[in-house]
């Protein structure tokens, strides 16, 4: 019984693989990503759309130039159901059975971890656009690169910006998962080194539904800055609740999701002066502007102003590496590690597997655009402080 089902499954799955292989000569690029489950929100905003957009653009131009020959790109993307075991299993299929030419990373830090060791073992280079963790970069896996800024970079930039604004006291609220804790750790160190007073520090669990008591207590303490190490739903939550209780410090910062178009839509007319994690916008450069327009043309929605562009840039890097050295994955890895690449975010180089070209950044909503305001070298607008009152 069991044996029969295994045979059936094997042949069915084999069938799926062989029909895929019919599109001859195409460069097959596989990935698993969350289309369902709790990670789908982030993955479908910042990551998968960029995979699709890039493949479409490359194919429109005739394909990827591999060893002097243009070959179409064929994406093989599966839903990972936000389940880690499914992620691992799917990449095992892609790399061991389907033997795809290249793989793209799944969404988020946790899932990237699971795939990273596997990709590294099997020699598939991978540039992770939505993984942000010292624990991951500390593993120093030769085939794994991160292109998003890491917690200490983002938090040092934030602290430097605070110093420049003359901020003396802050209140911090953070999500109590790895991302929140690593960031708050880096932030605390940076604040201490600049002698900025930490008046209050509160954590909250993932999926929190009410933070107004915490915010009220913080308002009492009257800090110069409010800093939230938050995820998209809580970013919107703290912003709305701070407005409700009239908590309007000089600097109001909330981390992930401030850069989402959704944030602007949810806070209707109340985004002015809010800061958060962002690294680019259409003014960053001509290439960024084209990308922005192409994203809107394909998906009828704007890309977010942080990870989206990193995801797209990671594909540009992969493309340039392939066009340089062909599909030999070890050589692609070396090319990525050693080269400098032209991307929509400007030139990018890696050092120790991390993006060495883009420093930590701070962005701020100004008149409907999420402007990069820190550091000056990457700024698209001048910082506005103090934050205007909520409407």
């Amino acid at each position: 019984m069991l044996r029969n089902s295994i045979c059936i499954a094997a042949s069915l799955l084999g069938l799926a693989a062989s029909t895929a292989a019919l599109a001859d000569e195409a460069v097959r690029i596989g990935y698993a990503i969350a289309r369902t489950g709790p990670f789908a929100g982030g993955a479908q905003v910042s990551q998968e759309p960029n995979y699709l957009l890039w493949a479409e653009q490359v194919n429109a131009k005739g394909g990827l130039m591999v060893a002097g020959k243009q070959r179409k790109v064929e994406l093989i993307g599966y839903d990972d159901r936000s389940d880690t075991e499914t992620v691992v299993r799917t990449y095992e299929k892609l790399m061991n059975q389907d033997k795809v030419d290249l793989v793209l990373p799944p969404w988020g830090t946790g899932q990237t971890f699971a795939v990273a060791t596997l990709a590294n073992k099997l020699g598939y280079p991978m540039i992770a656009p939505t993984a942000s963790s010292k624990k991951l970069t500390d593993m120093k896996l030769p085939f794994v690169f991160t292109i998003l800024q890491q917690p200490d970079q983002m938090m040092n930039a934030l602290a430097d910006m605070l110093v420049a604004q003359g901020v003396k006291t802050v209140a911090v609220v953070h999500v109590d998962d790895l991302f929140g804790l690593e960031n708050v750790d880096a932030l605390s160190k940076a604040l201490a080194s600049h002698n900025i007073g930490l008046l209050d520090k509160k954590s909250y669990p993932l999926g929190v539904k009410d933070l107004s008591p915490v915010l009220k207590a913080m308002k009492e303490k009257n800090p110069d800055a409010f800093l939230g190490i938050t995820y998209p739903p809580d970013t919107i939550l703290v912003s709305k609740q701070a407005r409700e209780i009239g908590f309007n410090p000089k600097i109001f910062y909330a981390a992930v999701g401030t850069a989402f178009p959704l944030y602007k839509a949810q806070l209707t007319g109340n985004t002015e002066g809010v800061m958060g994690m962002g690294s680019w916008n259409a003014k960053t450069g001509a290439a960024a502007k084209d990308y922005f327009a192409a994203h809107i043309a394909k998906f009828q929605k704007e890309p977010d102003r942080w990870a989206s562009a990193h995801a797209y840039a990671s594909l540009q890097i992969l493309q340039q590496a392939v066009e340089k050295v062909g599909l030999d994955r070890a050589r692609i890895r070396d090319a990525i590690a050693g080269g400098e690449f032209q991307t929509i975010l400007g030139p990018i180089k890696f050092k120790d597997g991390m993006n060495a070209s883009i420093p930590g950044t701070v962005s701020q909503w100004q008149k409907g655009e999420f402007e990069v305001v820190w550091p000056k070298t990457r700024a698209t607008a001048t910082l506005v402080s103090p934050k205007p009152a909520w409407n």
Partner: protein, 301 residues
Amino acid sequence: MKDWIKWLPLIAALAAVPWLTNAYMVSLLLTCLMYVALAVSWVMFSGPSRYLSLATTAFFGIGAYCTAWGLGHLPWPLLLLGGALAAAGTAALVGLFVLKLRGSYFAVLTFGLSELALHVINQTERSISGTVGRVLLNPPEQDAIYLAVLALALAAIACCAWLWRGPLGHALRGIGADEDRAATLGVNPLRVKLAGFALAAAFAGAVGAAMAGRWTYIDPHTVFNPLIGFQTVLIVMVGGASRIQGAVIGAVIFSLLSEFLRMRFPYFYLVLLGLLLILSVLYLPNGLIALLPRKKAAAHG
């Protein structure tokens, strides 16, 4: 009782799989076996007692954390045992309260248990190590995990068969049919339920401890994934709760089918899967197992 001998060739074939095929096939079978073990562990207690438990995720996660904490300090097989004991201990402790409730109250509370365990572990991790999430630096080989989960699946089946045949299974069945009546015939319901719940939890915990090695990185949200618990209950609904074969067949078919549909129809597979589930519940309310001929009910003893 000698039945199992005829299964030896299949067991041997399953044990040889890592040497015969590629890593994906091993991984696919591993998923099947993981859900076989989880579904059998679930049906072991909830089948006869009719206490619908949604705690599988909690026990699985607790087991996974045993590996996350112990790897590098203790030999891995010992960690599987640790995961089993930790899950069983939790089940016994929590069972003291929740097993007094019935029906949907029990289901809801057991679901809450995984949330509770998640937050307890989160707090513990933060206060002890100052961070959450653990990187498993030297995880066991995939083949070792496969063989361990195969052994756990077989052990769960054997344990379930033994349990159901003996007085504890008898008492659980009595409790499932009419708990107060069983008490008037000498059954101490709380004690029996605690034993059954804890034994079932032990297997889910051990499976969690085994699977954790595959993910490099463990954090509370990855291991306390509600999908695992829901899928386990669905599998038993599809396969049937009255016989062990129901859980086994359900787990294998469900795992293979959902994988096949997911690969073949990356965007619509959930709709298809949902449709198949509804059809199976409508037309096979007693599960796939109802399609298999039933041996004459074996007399007790």
